[in-house]
Symmetry: C2
Subunit: 294 residues, 2 copies
C-alpha cells in the first residue's frame, strides 16, 4: 500500500481525544487537515483549556465527562500524563462501543500496558503508542498540525494486541506523516530513557545547579548565550509530566543516569589530571556521534 492510498482510504468517523494539549491537539489538527476524521470530541479536566481547543477549531465539541465523550468514539486517543492513563482507561472502557480502539501517546509503555490490559473488554482494543515528537510547550495553544510530520511513532504491541487494531493505528500515524516503528515494550522504555528521559534529567539538574550558584549575588544565567539557552530549553518542560515519566520508567532511567554519571565522572577525572589526549578523544568521539544525527 503506498502513502497516497493510505491517506485517501483512511478515515475515523468519530475520534475522542482525552487531554487536548500539544500531543492530543496536534493529532486532532493533523487528522483533520488530512481529511481523515469526522467528528472530534475533546475531553479533559480543565474547562479553560477545553474551551480554548474548541475556539481554536482543534475539536468539534468538548466535555469534562470522559465516559460520555467516548461513548460513540471509534478511536480514543489518550494524551494525559502517563500516570493518569490507567485511571482514565478504567473510567471509559465500560461505556465504549464494541470495536472501539484505545491508543495513547504516553512516553513510557511497560507500566501502561500492564495496567490497562487487565481492564479491557473482549470487544475493545488497546494499541500502546508513542509519537517521538514534542516541544517544551504545553496546552491546546501549543498544538500544530505538522508536529508529527517526518517524525517516528513507536507502537509497542504486546502478545495480546489485536492485529487489525494495530494495523489501523499504524495507518493513523502514517496519515499524519509519521514513520511507524514497531518495538518491544522493554526496548522502547530503555531507548526512551536514553534519548529522552535522561537528557531531561540532565537539563533540569544543570539549570538548577547553575541557576542557584549565588557566589556573586546576581543571576549569572543573565550572562548565558545561545548555546546555554538551546541546551536548556527542555528544562522548561512541564514538571508534572516529567515527574510522572521519571516515576513510571524508574528502573530504566536509573540505569541510564548511572551510565551518564560514569561518563561524566571519567571526563572530570581527565580534566583533573589535565590529560590532553583523553580529553581530545572524549570530545572528538562525541562530536562525531552528534554530527551523524545532525
Amino acid at each position: 500500500m503506498n502513502k497516497a492510498q493510505t491517506q485517501s482510504d483512511f478515515f475515523i468517523p468519530r475520534l475522542a481525544v482525552i487531554g487536548v494539549g500539544l500531543i492530543g491537539g496536534s493529532l486532532a489538527l493533523a487528522l483533520r487537515e488530512a481529511g481523515a476524521v469526522g467528528e472530534i470530541v475533546g475531553i479533559g479536566r480543565g474547562l479553560e483549556n477545553l474551551q480554548k481547543a474548541l475556539d481554536l477549531g482543534i475539536v468539534d465539541r468538548i466535555t469534562q465527562d470522559a465516559a460520555e465523550g467516548c461513548r460513540d468514539a471509534d478511536v480514543v486517543f489518550l494524551a494525559t500524563p502517563v500516570r493518569t492513563l490507567a485511571d482514565v482507561a478504567a473510567a471509559i472502557i465500560p461505556s465504549l462501543k464494541p470495536g472501539a480502539i484505545l491508543t495513547d501517546g504516553g512516553s513510557v509503555k511497560a507500566q501502561v500496558a500492564q495496567e490497562i490490559e487487565p481492564l479491557l473488554r473482549d470487544d475493545v482494543f488497546l494499541v500502546p503508542g508513542h509519537p517521538i515528537a514534542g516541544t517544551e510547550k504545553s496546552g491546546a495553544e501549543a498544538a500544530f498540525a505538522t508536529l508529527y510530520q517526518g517524525r517516528r511513532c513507536i507502537l509497542t504491541p504486546t502478545k495480546s494486541t489485536d492485529q487489525e487494531a494495530l494495523l489501523f493505528i499504524q495507518r493513523m500515524w502514517a496519515t499524519v506523516g509519521s514513520e511507524v516503528v514497531l518495538m518491544d515494550v522493554t526496548k522502547h522504555d530503555r531507548v526512551l530513557a536514553a534519548i529522552s528521559h535522561l537528557p531531561h534529567m540532565v537539563a533540569y539538574s544543570l539549570v538548577n545547579a547553575v541557576g542557584s550558584y549565588d557566589r556573586y549575588e546576581e543571576n549569572i544565567l543573565e550572562y548565558s548565550a545561545g548555546g546555554f539557552r538551546d541546551f536548556t530549553r527542555i528544562a522548561s518542560s512541564d514538571p508534572t509530566m516529567w515527574r510522572d515519566i521519571a516515576l513510571t520508567n524508574r528502573d530504566a532511567l536509573i540505569e541510564m543516569m548511572e551510565r551518564f554519571e560514569r561518563f561524566f565522572g571519567e571526563l572530570k577525572e581527565d580534566v583533573r589530571q589535565g590529560d590532553d589526549g583523553k580529553l581530545f578523544d572524549f570530545f572528538q568521539r562525541s562530536k562525531q556521534m552528534r554530527d551523524e544525527i545532525l
Copy 2:
C-alpha cells in the same frame, strides 16, 4: 557618549586578526559593516582557511607570518584557541608598533592575563576580553557580521591595564552591537565555567553515554527527536578548543562539575525513592529559572 556618536567616531586604521574563524572573522565582518576599520590583515597557520577568508571578503590580505602581519596594526585581535594565545603574543609583541593594542576573545581569562602581561612592552597594551557569543560551527565560513549584536562582551582589565586602551576596546565592541561588561578576572572564569564550560562537559558526556549504548546493536540516536538534537548541539563544538578551555580553566570547571554532580545525584536519589513532591519541586524550580531567561 551615545551609540550613534560611538559608531561614527570609532575607527581602526589597521586591524590584524589572528585566527580568522567564527570569532575573529565575525569581528572583522562586523567592523567592516560598521565602516569602523581600514585594512584588515588575516593571520593564521592554515592557508586553506586564510584563502577562504580572503575569498569571502572577510580580510583584505593574508599571511602565515604573524609578526609580519601585525607590524603596522593599531589593534591585534587574538582569536586562536586559548592555550596558544601566550605563544602567539610572544611571537608578535617585539614587532608591534608603539601604541598598538592587543586584545583577545579567549573563553578563559586568568591564565591568559598571567601569561601575556609579563611579555608586554611599555608601549604596547593588553585588554583581555571575551565576547559571549558563538555557535557550534568553526572556521572562516562560519563567520557572520551580526554574531555580536545584542550579545554581552566581557572585558577583564587587570590593575596594569591601560585605561585609554580599555576605553578604545570598549568602543570597538559597542560598535559591533555588543553590551560591554567589565568583570574581575576570577569572577569571569567562574561564571563562564558555570554557564558555558560546564554545559559543554555535560553535553559531551551525554552524547558519549547515549551514543555508545549498544544493548540493541543499533544506533539509538536515530530515534532522537528535536529536543535531543537541540540539547546536544553544543557537543558538536570544536574538540581542540574545548580541550584547551577545560585545561585552562581547570579549577573553576572542576568546582562546577562537582556542583552539578551533587544536583544530579540528588535527583537520582529522588527518582530511586519515588519521591513525588521532591521531583515535582526540582523540575518546577528549574523550569522557573529557565523561563526567566527565555
